[in-house]
Point group: none
Chain length 400, copies 2
């Protein structure tokens, strides 16, 4: 299902859709108990909702493919993630709420350590503390390159974002990170003739940047990767003819929502305060994206117990979410983050959808194995949006 097919089928309606994304929702069994995080957690409200929903498991990108946050969310928003790709530079910029413009070229930067011969000895500069990166970034801001504005922002530890702003910039560029040590950083290389001029500008920036930070004992070099422009995706509000609002504590997810044209509520606060904000704006939108982060963070930390607790915390929000009385309510994740792997994974993600028009399936629990038995089976995450729209009475018949 492509987003462009939806464009031809959507029709306005007075219904409201609530998409709740529990980041990193899916898990794997704990080696001792043989139960996943969801199977371990006490989540009576989610279980109750599952009883009234159609359940299934979504495949975010494809079998065996572990999605980053970008493809995981784009799929849920209805965008085929292998087609609608977002470069790492743009994602990093989204992650710090950087206001990218359409002609900007963004890149992810790392401070690194170079030896006297210019070879890399540490690709992360010993993971310099964030406060050091903040100071180093301040120094990089002194670099001036004629013909282009260079904007540098610190991220965390050795990471920063650099944005090149100007006319005619092209992002068809190869990264400078050779992804190994003992060799010098690569020059930026254009992969299309149109990008030669941009490559030259950025190489000048890299040279001057190295000069500026040359005396730092560890962070005396930089590596750039993921050169990318802000992509022009078909806007969901236009495609689906509905007002879309995004409610998320963290910048990355607001950025992804903005990428598909959603109206983004102010970030920060807590899941509860974002829920309050959504409640306050309930009349302003037809589609609501509500993002809950903590399950992924705990999973990434390899903290099974913390992930269980995050799921239990979300469960406590469910009655208030239901009290909004959306016509269609979905709870799912953008990908799995099993605590036993301490990373995102490829495993299909629990999913449930409640509306007046779901086919019940006797699922009594919101867990991986129970959802597998659900009416929807295992299906691509990119099908979530058409299912949501259909259940909201927002899709016309296809063909006569």
């Amino acid at each position: 299902m492509d987003i462009e097919l939806l464009r031809t089928l959507t029709t306005p309606a007075r219904t409201k859709i609530l998409l709740c994304v529990i980041d990193g929702l899916g898990g794997l069994p704990h080696p001792d108990t043989k139960r996943t995080e969801l199977e371990t957690a006490s989540v009576p409200n989610l279980n109750h909702l599952a009883e009234e929903s159609s359940c299934g498991l979504t495949v975010p990108v494809g079998a065996g493919i572990t999605p980053g946050s970008g493809p995981g969310h784009l799929a849920l928003f209805g965008y085929e993630p292998l087609k609608y790709e977002v470069g790492r530079g743009v994602l990093e910029a989204l992650g710090i709420d950087f206001p990218l413009e359409g002609t900007d070229v963004a890149a992810r930067g790392n401070f690194c350590t170079l030896d006297d011969d210019g070879n890399i000895t540490d690709r992360r500069a010993g993971r310099v503390p964030t406060e050091v990166t903040v100071r180093l970034v301040q120094q990089l801001r002194d670099v001036r390159i004629p013909g282009v504005e260079v904007l540098v922002e610190p991220v965390r530890e050795h990471r920063f974002v650099v944005v090149f702003r100007g006319e005619g910039l092209d992002d068809r560029l190869r990264q400078t990170d050779p992804e190994r040590e003992g060799v010098p950083p690569l020059p930026v290389r254009a992969t299309a003739p149109e990008a030669e001029a941009t490559a030259a500008l950025i190489n000048r920036f890299v040279d001057q940047a190295r000069h500026v930070i040359r005396t730092h004992p560890t962070a005396n070099g930089i590596l750039l990767r993921g050169f990318a422009k802000y992509p022009a995706f078909p806007p969901l509000p236009e495609v689906a003819q509905m007002r879309c609002g995004a409610f998320a504590v963290y910048p990355m997810y607001r950025g992804l929502a903005k990428l598909v044209g959603m109206t983004v509520a102010p970030g920060g606060g807590t899941p509860a305060s974002q829920l309050e904000a959504m409640k306050a704006q309930w009349d302003d939108f037809d589609f609501f994206f509500y993002h809950y982060k903590k399950a992924d963070t705990a999973g990434e930390d390899g903290d099974f117990r913390a992930k269980v607790e995050a799921l239990e915390e979300f469960d406590q929000l469910v009655p208030q979410l239901r009290a909004l009385e959306p016509d269609v309510m979905i709870v799912t994740g953008d990908h799995s983050t099993p605590a036993v792997m301490a990373s995102h994974s490829w495993h299909p993600v629990p999913f449930m959808i409640k509306s007046a028009w779901v086919r019940g399936d006797g699922v009594r629990e919101f867990t991986e194995p129970a959802c597998r038995e659900g009416a929807l089976g295992i299906f691509p995450a990119v099908d979530v949006m058409p299912l949501a729209l259909a259940n909201a009475g927002r899709l016309l018949k296809f063909g006569a």
Copy 2:
């Protein structure tokens, strides 16, 4: 999922993957017992492995599509079988271990019977015995065509392989077999202008071949079909960054493995001796393709009992296969061959994968209905390779 996407995501690792293909694995219930071959067989080792695995059913090509050995295996190797097609001439050549070169054009040949008017009266020449075909092929080798080397090899009964070797040959040719009797064989026709010269050469060969064998009472003509060049597929070892070894008794399967760039161990022997060979070379490869043929042979023969026994024989090999301690172990088939149909079929094929990262699914038996209840559901066989690589820690995250 295309093999070319895998190329962008694979990363080297120290893990080992063992793909065991039981040829023709899937079956249908026996009319008396209502139990399939797998349900009838005593396969305690497979059942035990299923308990520790994620199970499912694979669809080799598509719903209702019965695969030949080529597409069945290519799908398991990660190649979309509708995209990566192998011509019949090439498959026949692979099946007799013929060392095809990249510029060769291979065709499958049949001896046929022609009447005095040159019309076909039997497309298989009464299925002449193999020893007759061997003598006739010897005669065909006397045919000399200037500008091209013609290599002819007997196969079985009325079948042979002919390979045209030379510069600038083109395989865009139509078969000479009209697929009915009472009409003469068709001339070879080029389907692209570049193939006209090749068509002319082959027509000269066909004319002279008929002259050479004209006195044989039944096999006095030939029919050629499946003109094909050895395809240039992206090599799996390169795409997946792993050393791939193939262990198979029969030439066809070694040929298919070679087609995707695997290193092929010497053939022949028995399943047990191939297992020993694999054990001896366990340090030499990261990915192992182990092929077990007998289940398909029995199925094709319509011999339910023999297929059950073949499955039981494989089951006895399972402890030794597991003793190799692969990080990822898969048991599946390239297609179903239900004994009650005495042929390949389109039915989804039992599949199981064991690794440290599978989501258990409570499947207790390695049978068609039990696998259908597995965590993986019914899924395309082309997803097997990404799943194998993911479970082996050999795939990077897609997107940030």
